[in-house]
Structures are given as structure tokens and as C-alpha cells.
Point group: D2
Chain length 405, copies 4
């Protein structure tokens, strides 16, 4: 039960901290934090700089060119990267690529790994994850999956519509979730497919206008129309799509928390600078009780967020599924970072809503995090169900005399 961080992780985190402040923030500012249409060269330059700084691809094992930092270490590094909206991109740990790399490393076969994971890890290409569908399809309830994959000689034919496919514009391939058996509403019957984005039958019909704009490639709407996918592009096994999704889901929501916590800390730093430097009603802002309350609440929530993230990361590193602990972290952190950025903006007053600071942009970026990767309500539903189940089991065990309840 030692919380002292790992030396290697600490060192990468420190380098990341310097790199983000020295190099990345200026690029973020230049593009006003908007990456929906970021020139590819900006991405490549940022990643080259990260490689130079010794912080590129910290999360993957060395065999894929990574630094081999475990989840607990990632908590440190990703938070430092997230201090800028463009930091995760620079380190090649942005969503959805980071989650996709983890998934490919875990369930892809060697050939698939060479074809897709290798260049993705190197930052040569980008990817997307096509799971969410417009209502009444798969959204907060994945079992509503409506996109279908029909077996044909040599492979499968996919039909359906996906949206909020982050990073779709410019992605080299998509991981597409489609139903290979059962009906929408069934809790099984899904399969994942690796689909090159230049194949016939897959079309990016639009990039959705969204409140957030910091994800490279935006959030795309894809139409699959009789799209043929060869048999060797099934990721993992047929009908194992929901299980695969679990492999990706818990860690992906946790790394989101890590990155957004970094941004919340940045917002808090901006507010602290303002509070230390600005005077009102004859006092420094930092001496006004209502400002102190906001600053303290944000400090408390930053610490609580970090502690919950570390707890869940440890469980993942220990081989646990961490379904409950990552849900708890996600529900708490998504709302905490929202409040933190909101308070920071409030402390900065008119300046806070102006483009002279980046807080308005940050506020826009963190808002959807309460919806993406499972809305807070869905997580609360799941958390509650598991809590009730745990308690019923405790009582049953007590009745059987095994344990006190």
C-alpha cells in the first residue's frame, strides 16, 4: 500500500510537463484549441517534437515503440499531457487512437497488429472506433446495436449508420461494431471489424458540428452500405464484439479521466494566477472568501479525481476488470472537471468568457465528457446495480453464516 510513484513514470511525467508548457501550449493557442480540421502537418510536427522530448507513446510496450508505462504511471503522464488540449495528440495518447492501440495489442492477431497497430503506434496513421449509432441504435445502451454484418463468401457485408465516430475524418481505418446475430436489444451477437476507410461502401457523410472541437478529425457520421469486409478483418472472434468492447471500455474511460484532469488543473492554474494578481473591492481576489471557496472546491475535486483515477488504475494493473472503479471515476471526474473549469471561468469574470483566455474553449471541451463514453446517468445506473448486488450477496453470505452483514 505504497503510493510513491514509480521512478520511470515520474520522469516521463516531468518531461511531459516541460514539453507541454514549452512546446504544445503555443500550438494549442495558435489554433484556438480547435482540432476538428487541424492540418496533418501540425500533428506530425507535434509528435516529432514529443519523440524528441522522450515522451512519445508512453503507454505501449517497447515492442510497439512505447515507453512501457503502466496504468498507474499513465495517470501521472496523461494528466500532464492533458494540461493542453493538444498534449495527448502530441504524445499519441489521444482518444480514440490510444484506446484502439490497447484493443489491438490485446485482441488483434499478429498480422492485424503489423498492419494496423504498428503504423498507429508510430503515429503514421490515425484510426476511429465506429460503435455509436443515431437513435434508436446503439448509444448509452450498446445492446441496441442495429448495424448488421451478413456473412458472404470470403467475408462479410456491413450495413448501417454510425455517428459520433471520433476522428473519422482522416482516419486510415475504423473498428466497426456490427451485429452478426440476434436482434437490437439482445445483449450478445456483436462482432468487431477492421475496415479500411477507403473501401467501397463506407462513406463519411458528414463531420458533425459539436460543442467540442479538440479531437483531430472531429466526430464523423459514417454510412455503411453493402460494405464488404474480408474474413481476416474480424477483430477477435465472431459474436465476441461486446466482450472486446469491455477490453477497451474500462481503460479508455479511465484514460479520458486522466487527460481531462490535466485540463482541469490548467484551468485552475489560470484561476489561481488571476486570483493572485487581480484586485477588486480593495482586496486581491485571492483574499475574497467566495473566490477562496471556489479555489478550494476545485483543489478538493482535483485531489479526489486523482485519487479515484489512481485507485482504478491500480485495479487494472492488477488484472482486474475495474468495471465499478472506472465507472465511479468516470462519473465523478467528468462532473468534477466540468465544475472546475466552470469555476475558473467564473473567477476570471468577463475575461474568462473572452477569447483572451482559453477557458471558454476548455468549458466547451469538457462538457461532452459527461455524455461521451457513457452518460453520467448510465454510469450511475450501473454503479447502483452493482452496489445492490454486492449488498444482497453480503446478506446472503451472512444468512449462510459465512460472514457478518
Amino acid at each position: 500500500m505504497d503510493l510513491t510513484p514509480d521512478d520511470a513514470a515520474r520522469s516521463v511525467a516531468e518531461r511531459t510537463r516541460a514539453f507541454v508548457r514549452d512546446t504544445v501550449l503555443a500550438v494549442e493557442r495558435e489554433h484556438r484549441g480547435s482540432a476538428h480540421a487541424l492540418p496533418e502537418q501540425v500533428r506530425l510536427d507535434l509528435q516529432a517534437a514529443a519523440r524528441q522530448a522522450g515522451v512519445f507513446c508512453p503507454h505501449l510496450p517497447p515492442r510497439w515503440g512505447g515507453l512501457g508505462i503502466d496504468r498507474r504511471g499513465q495517470a501521472l503522464v496523461f494528466e500532464e499531457a492533458g494540461y493542453s488540449l493538444f498534449g495527448p495528440l502530441a504524445l499519441n495518447i489521444a482518444a480514440p487512437d490510444e484506446g484502439n492501440m490497447h484493443l489491438l495489442a490485446a485482441v488483434a492477431d499478429p498480422e492485424q497488429q503489423e498492419r494496423y497497430l504498428r503504423p498507429l503506434a508510430a503515429g503514421l496513421i490515425r484510426s476511429c472506433f465506429a460503435m455509436t449509432e443515431p437513435a434508436p441504435g446503439a448509444g448509452s445502451d450498446p445492446s441496441a446495436l442495429a448495424t448488421t454484418a451478413r456473412p458472404v463468401p470470403g467475408g462479410w457485408v456491413l450495413n448501417g449508420r454510425k455517428w459520433f465516430t471520433t476522428g473519422a475524418d482522416g482516419a486510415a481505418f475504423a473498428i466497426v461494431m456490427a451485429r452478426t446475430s440476434g436482434q437490437p436489444g439482445d445483449r450478445g451477437g456483436a462482432t468487431m471489424f477492421l475496415v479500411d476507410t477507403d473501401v467501397p461502401g463506407l462513406e463519411l457523410v458528414r463531420t458533425i458540428e459539436t460543442l467540442d472541437e479538440a479531437m483531430v478529425g472531429g466526430h464523423g457520421e459514417l454510412v455503411l452500405q453493402d460494405c464488404f469486409v474480408p474474413a481476416d478483418r474480424v477483430l477477435g472472434a465472431v459474436d465476441q464484439g461486446f466482450d472486446n468492447a469491455q477490453v477497451r471500455l474500462a481503460p479508455a474511460r479511465l484514460t479520458h479521466c486522466m487527460r481531462w484532469l490535466g485540463l482541469a488543473r490548467h484551468a485552475q492554474d489560470i484561476a489561481l494566477d488571476r486570483a493572485a494578481g487581480r484586485r477588486a473591492f480593495g482586496s486581491a481576489l485571492a483574499d475574497l472568501g467566495m473566490i477562496q471557496q471556489m479555489l478550494a472546491d476545485s483543489e478538493i475535486e482535483i485531489e479526489a479525481s486523482r485519487a479515484l483515477i489512481l485507485r482504478a488504475a491500480w485495479e487494472l494493473d492488477s488484472g482486474g476488470r475495474a468495471a465499478q472503479s472506472t465507472s465511479v471515476a468516470k462519473a465523478f471526474v467528468a462532473e468534477a472537471v466540468w465544475r472546475i473549469v466552470d469555476r475558473s471561468l467564473q473567477i476570471c469574470g468577463s475575461l474568462g468568457v473572452s477569447g483572451d483566455l482559453m477557458l471558454g474553449r476548455y468549458l466547451r471541451e469538457v462538457r461532452p465528457f459527461r455524455i461521451y463514453d457513457g452518460p453520467s446517468e448510465t454510469h450511475r445506473w450501473a454503479i447502483s446495480r452493482r452496489a445492490v448486488k454486492r449488498r444482497v450477496q453480503e446478506r446472503d453470505a451472512a444468512v449462510r453464516g459465512a460472514l457478518p452483514a
Copy 2:
């Protein structure tokens, strides 16, 4: 103590309701709710349509072409207008023009009224109100006023910098607050000037990029450099600027509440539509408890907002200054509408953060209202001070035997 609305006001409110839904919402949608650079013709067309619909300029007395609706009646009408971001513009009751008309009607001399109020009431021109200054100038603490007006033969010479001057771009004139005596920090010594925007020495140096974009003409930054203003352009009397500001302040913050409440209701309607129509986890959203809780909280806050607005409007109509009641309404409503729009967006999920609905835009619009017209913290400070003072007076009266405490 009869709360039945006035017939005339009710009738205008009903017409406004129909007009906004039939005519205004489509224009709002076409321009994505952004009016920072709205073509002048769009404004003129909307106002012509409002005139046609019999809802134009409801707030002014008939002698200025208005419908003579009192503050309580305005509560109904402005809320209906605010159902669209462009509704207030169409009815010519948008900030800052609406507040400026009220101020001019109350303190301008007849000549000034003919020159400025007449065309403003007719929608022929727009205006702005230049009071806020960058730190350390006048912001939430007006006494920090740093812009100066120096007497010269035939008038005054103004120097200073103003920002967050709403509607500056395209305004025909500005009401400029400048210090004619005393030092920044003094609670008196300010004077208001009517300044044509085309005079030498007044420059719009930029329109500030802001989170909100629904105010025509945006939020400008103005520089006054040896700007000469003739003596007859003093509004009210010299050194009475802060008193004039009081005339404008309380009603202006209340009409803001009325308008934003309309927008909150619109957001709630969007959420109700979604909840009634969408299914998740086998239930209509409207049957899910967490959704019901959000919908109910918004209903409650809409009712509380409306009740507080009506209470303060009645006090203004009764000739009261309504300093406390408008502060209470402003602090509550600004935060309530923020929560209401935020909940509506949450209920709509991914769709809510997308441009397919207007909720992301609405969220951006209502955020600054917690800062503009006095940040919530400043209002709370004032509310608390008045409460303590009232209680001390009650106790003093009790000690003197006058009243029980």
C-alpha cells in the same frame, strides 16, 4: 394581491409566442444563433415582421411608439420573446438597446430624446452602453471607474478604454460613463455622455471573441482618445452618473432575467420532446427516474425564476428601486437558466452537444449571464449586506421597544 395577468399584456404575450415560433426561430436556426455579425437587413426584416405581428416595442409608452406594457406585463412578453435568441432583437427589446431606451426616457432632456430615443425606439439605429473597463478599471466594482472626462470650452474631452461594450459594432451612439471628479475607488464623481460613434477620438479597436455570440454587434473594445463631446450631450447631470446607472441597472438586470427565462423554457421544451419520443433500456426516456428528476428540477426552477421576476417587476412598477429583489432574481435566475439548459443538453445526449439541436449554442449564450450585469458573487455580497443591515435595524427597533425582533 391578485396574480391574474393584465389582459393587454397577455394578449401581446400570446402574439409574441406565435410570432417567435412561426417566424423568428427559423431565422435563428439559419444563422446558428450567432448575431455578432448579423447582416443589418436581417435585423430590419425581423423588426418589420414584429411590427406586422403587433408585438414591436412593447415596453415603451405609446408616445415613443410602444405598446405601454408595464414591468409585470413585460415579464410575460419578454419571456415569450426570449424563447428564441433572436426574439428580443425582433421586438426591439434586446440588451443593451432596451435598457438604454428606458434610461433615455427617464433622464434625457427632450432634445436628446428626439435625437437618440426616437430613432432607437423605431429600430432605425442601435446603441451601446460603455461602462465596463479592463482591470483594474470599472468591472464588478463600478467605483473603480478610470475613464476620465475633462471639461474644455464647449464640452468635455474623454480618455479611457472600455470593453465588453455590447452592441458596439454598428451602434450609432454610445452612452459613455466617465469620471468627472474624484479618483478610481471613489463612490461618486461619474457622468454619462451621449457620444456619436462616428466622432473623432472614439475607436472600436476590436470585437472581443466571446463564448456567447447572440448579441448583435458583439462585445466591443472601445478606446477614447481625446474624444470631444459637446456640453449638451451630458445625460442627466454632471457627477450624477452612478445615480443614472441605478436607474438603468435594476430594470436592465431584470429584463435580462425575463429573456433568458424564455430561452431556458425553450431548452426544457426540447428536452421534453426528446424525453417523450426517445427510448432507452426498453423505456421511454420520460419514464426513467433520473430523466424525470432533471425535468422536474427544471420545471421547479422555471417556476421559481418566474415568481421571483414577477415579484421584482411588481416592486419596480410600484415605484420601488427594487435593488434587493432584482439582485435576488438575477443571482437565482442566472444560475437556474444555466442549470436548466445544461440538464436539457444532458437529456439529449450526443444529439445535445451536436449542432443538430441548438442546445450547445444556448449553453454558450447563458453562461456569461452569470458574469454580465454583476457576477453572482457581487450580487450575493450585496444581498448579504442588505440582509445584515435589515436585521440589525430590526433588532435596534426592538431594543427601542418599537417592534419585536
Copy 3:
């Protein structure tokens, strides 16, 4: 739309204010705010004093010895009475008697009125309202009603168990809700009976220990075992029990709000006194921002509570059922008064949790109000349902071309 209070009501309210502070608070203090076992003589003395002060029974028409104040006027008077836990008792407007008088005045036949309402209005006897049952019976869901009334020659025989029957100990009669047709879960089939508490078959098995203790007679648990009730003791008509309950329900929950708002104001006054008089960290408490924020939040919530109460009272006076507006008021006010008392206690620090002030007692008293008369969750469910229904109707009307939506 005039909010000026009625002269008669204002005058009674002012007298009530003086009476409560001069006479009632000392009695409350002497008994530590606990009335579960208050000597009958204390009640009679308080009511005699109220009669003397001209504030007794303000809510009933003169024919029942009352002052004929309408609901809007009651909002003023009841709030002043509620400034002390014992004020409502003194004025004979405490729950459940106040609601029972209203019900009897509305639906009892003349003979029943003479027998039950007359002495109740005069304060000669007390009453109780036996509706709530232990799980799985009637609680937040009244349709679960399990107590039965079986017709027998000359009347009915009642069987069942009631609890949280406020005021049971010492009550002269109970209004008992029992099922005369249908099954638990059915939305109809209930009847109200006037049952003298000294009849065979009705037993008060215990007075429940509760967090609150300010209701005279406490909260009783009653058992009805083959309890015979004559036919002429049916209140209203057979099988009309749920309709009768509606007559009582909405006003009763609103008068609760009025009374508790008075207590919240008292708590706020205690906090204001403390803030004005106490120093910490070199400042008066009232000059510390975090204290100001708490005081201001309480001011805001007191105003919002009062405005919502007035709104609903007006609807009742206008003959409306006020189902939605009283639910909205109840849900908001119950939580607001809880927060207000909690803040006041926090401002007073250690003193606040000590018996040297009454705030700990007040906190205990207001807590159950979030559960009694419908838990906040049940009200939110109902509010949400009505909002969805209203919106669907608006849209349907729009589709039919009748109205814009």
C-alpha cells in the same frame, strides 16, 4: 397582477409577528421545542393568548369562529406563526388540525361539522388523519391502501394498521382512510371515516420515536381491529376517499410550506445576528465572503420560497386544484428550508450544534418535511409527468394547427 398584500391579512400577520416573539418563543424555549408530550394546558394557554392577541384561527370563515383570511393572506400569517415551532399550535393552524378543518368545512355534512369541526375550530379538541400505512401499504403511493372497511348492518367494520398518524396521542377523533372496494394498487375504492378515538377496536399501539418532535401528540401507530363505525360517519361519499384526499392534499402541503418558511426565516435571523456580532480571523463574520455566500443563498431561497407559495396560494384562491403549483412549491420549499437551517447552524459553529441555540432542534424538525406529505422524489415524478403531458398536448395542438409549439 397586483402583489400588494390584503390589508386585513397584513394586519393579522403583524399581530402574529408580535405575538410569536412576545409570547410564544419563550414557551418553545422552555419545552426545548419538543411537543410530543406537551401538557394539554400549555396548548390551551397558548391558544387563549392567541385569541387575546386577535390572531386565533385566522384561516376559517367567521361562521366557524375564524378570521376569514384567504390562502394568499395565510401565506403571510402562517409564515409569521411558523417563526416559532409552537406558533401554529397557538393559532390553531398546526398540522394536521388545520388541514382537517379545511376538509371538514369542504366535505362534511352539517351534522358532522357541528360534531367535529365546531370544537376543533375552537381548540377544544384535537384530531388526526390516519392515511399512511407501514410498507407495503399506503405511503408515497396512496393507491397501495390496505386498510379495509367492510359494510355491516348500520355501518362499517374497519381493519388495518396506520402509522405516522400525526397528533394521534390525545386526538378526539381520526379521519381514517380505508378501502371499500378494489385491491391494493387500484387507484380508486377508498372511503374516509370519522372515527372517535375512544371506540372499541381502535388502539394507539405506540407513538413512534422520530427525529422531529414539534407536533403535539407525536406520530402515532394505530391498529384497527374489527372497529365498528356507524354509517353516518362516512366523510363525503363511499368510494370518494381519494377525491376527498385531493381536497385536503394540495392546500395542506402548501400551508406546511408557509409554516416551515417561517422557521427558516427564524434560523436565518439567528445566523444574521451571529454574523453581525461575532468576529473571527480579525473580521466580523458578516464580512467574510463564505459567510456572506451562505447568508445570501438563504435570502435568495427565502424569497423564492415565498414567491412560489404565493403563486400556488393565488391559484387555490382562484378555484384551481393547484396540483402542479403546490407540488412545485412543496418540493422546492422542503429542500430550501432544510438548506437554510443547515447553513444557519454552520454559521453559528459549535454554538449552532449546542442546545444554547435552537438550531439543532430546528434542523431535526425540518428534515422529515422532505418526506412527509409526499417525498421530494414523488413530487418530482408527478411534476415531470405533468410537464411531459403538457408539452405533448402543446405539440398535438400545434400539429392540428391550433397553436404554435
Copy 4:
């Protein structure tokens, strides 16, 4: 960075869990959770049982008869003990004794340790800590200390008034903080004295009636009137009282968090039992969204509390002062446990406010924790100050080129 709990601690925690449920809860229930006047024999019996169960005095080193569990381990054990209001008493880890033992172990001289710590650790006697004074003395601002100690031949003479001295009634000795130099308001000049409670000049004038009642011996008000204390009863050094207080303060507030978290978990278990077993509106409570939301919020806050406690405990074990991390934990946990117990009570409805469950009692117990050991506002003030200071140092370092800011 390994969060796996220590084997020894885990084993004691498991035994504590069983012991509390098998033995302690029944005693708590019998005495309705009130310990202000608990018979001494009950305490002795509980402690004998704890010794029997192998869980007595887990926090002290073996030389004082303890189990030598470090702070991180205590987080597990104390939480299990806190599952019952009487658990900490049974294990001899209740406030204020637990904090006093820690203080004596750290700063008392060997003779003092034998005289005071030895019997205290064995549960033979109880103690109290007399620091807080009525206004305007030492409260949330310790520097306001007004009690004086005047040097006389052979010792000191103490004069002053202390209150909220927990455990005073029945304590064998008090640790009294008195001013040996300077004036109220000075940040130094305090000394701690070990005072036997049976000496002349020390009088327990009353036990204060408080909302909470679970502390054995209650909260006493002590008067020191020319109370002579021998020179060898100075604890630590003269004028080092505030430094000594720091030794006690941070750990003491953290162990409070651990214990109260246990009680919050118990409240949550009661709510989970209720939700799993009770039906309303045709559903199990556990299937209703608003109930799920409350249960989930409590789960989240339990996890966040535990994570913050563990974080601070690790810092203490590592030799840090943990001023910020224990303040963060205290501010968060005190409010979280309050909300958790409040939600549990709400979920249980009428039953929750009744004495049939212990939730009303638990609610009363946790309320003062937001005030005792520093009100939330004082902690927020301190947290904010440290955050601003940290940020200013970061920026200064950045300006000097040392680090990025």
C-alpha cells in the same frame, strides 16, 4: 505505487468487521447510539470484548499494548470500527483519546507517558483535550486563545474557560492549552498542560446539550480558576503549544474521517437493504431511477472519501505533515458523509426518520463533524491559501528559468 493493503492491517480489519457486527451493534442499538451518559461498565465490557477479538488498540506500537498498524492500515480498521457509533470506543480508538495517545506517544516525556499514556492505552482511564473556548476565544481560529497560564513557584496557575471539551465528564485528565506569552490574536505563545481532573480550580460546569450524543463523556464546559499545575506537567516545551497541536491535529482529523466513513457505509448498507427489499409504484425501490441516483452518488462519495483518506494516510506514514491532504480529506469527507447519511434516510422514507432505524441518530452524529476539528470554511480558506502560494512559487520558479509554469 501499490495499493494492495498490508496483510496485518487487512486481517485486523476483517476481525473488526466481524466484531462490530456480531457484538457492538447490539450495544449501540440498546443505548440508541447515545453515549453522553453511557455507564462506565458498558465501555469496559466492550473493550474487553475487543481485546478478546484481537482488535483492541490497533493504532499504538506494541510497547503500549497496541497492534502497531500504520496510518494506511488504520484507514481500513477504523472504517470498520466506525460502522457502529460504539465501535471506536470498543477498540479504544475513539476521539479524543486516540488523538491524545498519539500526542503523548510523540511529545510526552517518559514519566508522563507512564503516568498518562500507559493507563489510557489500556482503557483504564479516559482523557480530554481542552482547547476550544467560547467566543471570542479560540475556536476555528486557534490564535484567539484566551486561557492563561501564569508562572508561579513550582508550576503554573491557569485561568480561563473551555468548552466543547469532548469526553470531559469522567475523564481522568485533560490536556489544556493555555497562553504562556503574547495576546489573543498572536500566532504563538501557547503551552499544553497535563491536568488531572480532580485538582482544585478545575471544574466541569456543565455538559453541553448537543445534536450529537455518541461521544462518551459528552462535550464539557470547563472553568479553570486559579488552577495550579506542577511544572512537570508541561507537555513538550513552554510556548510550543501550537506546534504540539499540529502534531495532533492533522492525524486526528484524518482518523475522524476514517471512523465517519464507516458510519456512512453503514447508512448506505441500510439504504441498499431497503432499496432491495421495498416496492413502490409497482417496482422495487432499487429499480427506480431517482433511488439509483442516490445510491450511486453515495457509492461514488464513499470511494472518493476512502481514496482521499488513503492518500493522506500515506503522506503521514511517509513522515509528511500532510496539512493540505488532511484538510482536503476533512473538508470532503465531512460533507460527503453528511450527504450519504441524508440520502440513506431519504431512501428509507418515514421509516428513516423513525427510531425503528438508527439513521436519524446517525444524521445527528455526522452533522457536527462539518464544524468540529475546523469548520469546512476554515479548511477551505487554508486549502485555497496553500494553492495560491504553490502556484505563485511555480510561476516564480518559471520566471527564474528553473521550471515550466
